[in-house]
Symmetry: C2
Subunit: 200 residues, 2 copies
């Protein structure tokens, strides 16, 4: 059976991705199953560049199939920042809460109509022989006035989807995984992986 390595050290992401992938005729592993994997520096200018770099590094190093995502929150008032820098918006080694606090402070007094934002997720699936395919997902929302909810991770407590009037951290994970950027991207990636499984 072929093997697919999820090229991420973020256990929140691993859990979410495995959940959405569901059953596949391929053995899914995560980086935690491998010792001494060198850290990949995420220095790309775009989400796609980072996803490709992570997936292809792991695919080459382990001589297997690898899948990596890069995800960003684009806030329109901030010229689409933090974008590719979402994870380290409040500094290196900052917490999710630090990031949320910083963002809420920057948007203090900004009216709801100008708080539009979107989560964007790009997934790269890389093969042992150098192939690369991309899958994407995107969801529109607004940045809340304050954090709410304790599910999810990252910017979930301050990202509100209009239809549900709830933050991502207040939504049931089943609903979130259907509508979310990562849910869409993983389902698109699943089609790529199924094609890989069918090919000899």
């Amino acid at each position: 059976m072929k093997e697919l390595v999820l090229a991420t050290n973020n256990q929140h992401k691993v859990r979410e991705i495995i959940d959405i992938l569901g059953k596949l005729p391929i053995t899914v592993k995560s980086l935690a199953d491998f010792k001494k994997m060198p850290e990949v520096v995420e220095d790309g200018e775009t989400l796609a560049q980072n996803a490709v770099k992570k997936a292809s590094t792991v695919a080459m190093r382990l001589n297997t199939w690898a899948m990596a995502d890069d995800t960003g929150l684009e806030v329109d008032y901030l010229a689409k920042a933090p974008g590719v820098y979402s994870a380290r918006f409040a500094g290196i080694n900052c917490t999710y809460e630090d990031n949320n606090k910083k963002l809420l402070k920057l948007l203090k007094g900004v009216p709801k109509k100008d708080r539009t934002a979107r989560f964007r997720c790009v997934i790269a699936v890389a093969g042992p022989e150098g192939s690369i395919e991309l899958a994407q997902g995107c969801i529109e929302g607004v940045i809340a006035q304050k954090a709410a909810g304790d599910k999810g991770f990252g910017y979930d407590p301050i990202f509100v989807v209009a239809k549900y009037k709830k933050s991502f951290a207040q939504l049931d994970s089943r609903i979130k995984n259907v509508i979310s950027h990562r849910g869409q991207a993983v389902r698109n990636a699943k089609k790529i992986i199924e094609r890989i499984c069918r090919s000899s």
Copy 2:
């Protein structure tokens, strides 16, 4: 004599670029010399993508050599925003002053050590037969607490270079053109253009 069209409608940029280019064995024109040039939508994710799109569109349309720049201000506290969106940071059709005011407001209370920023300029030189070459320039600085100076344009009044302790809008244009992002990029582009002139 060969012809080089500066693919920009910004007359501030045209003047600055012609000033820095100096004498060249090529006829330099600007878009103002041509009627009915369609607007190029700057929808790239990176400065390089926008510069390439502008230069190659004009080169193809006019069957000539064309040069375009895209320039962005990266503010570290804002995860490198406004970057590729620098010109329209405060909204479509906003003024330079609107942009500067918005940036100063976002950085209100942020200490000097966290106000680091850089101007980055990418220039693309495109040929009538589809060739593309890139040149770059970058200068480090900090965002001032308030605007100062009336020279230059764009974010110049609030961008301070440590060595001179003056904003770009307070610096003599001769000094600015030597050290600036656009100065560096144009001089690098000049080498490309001189090579084009030598080739038959």
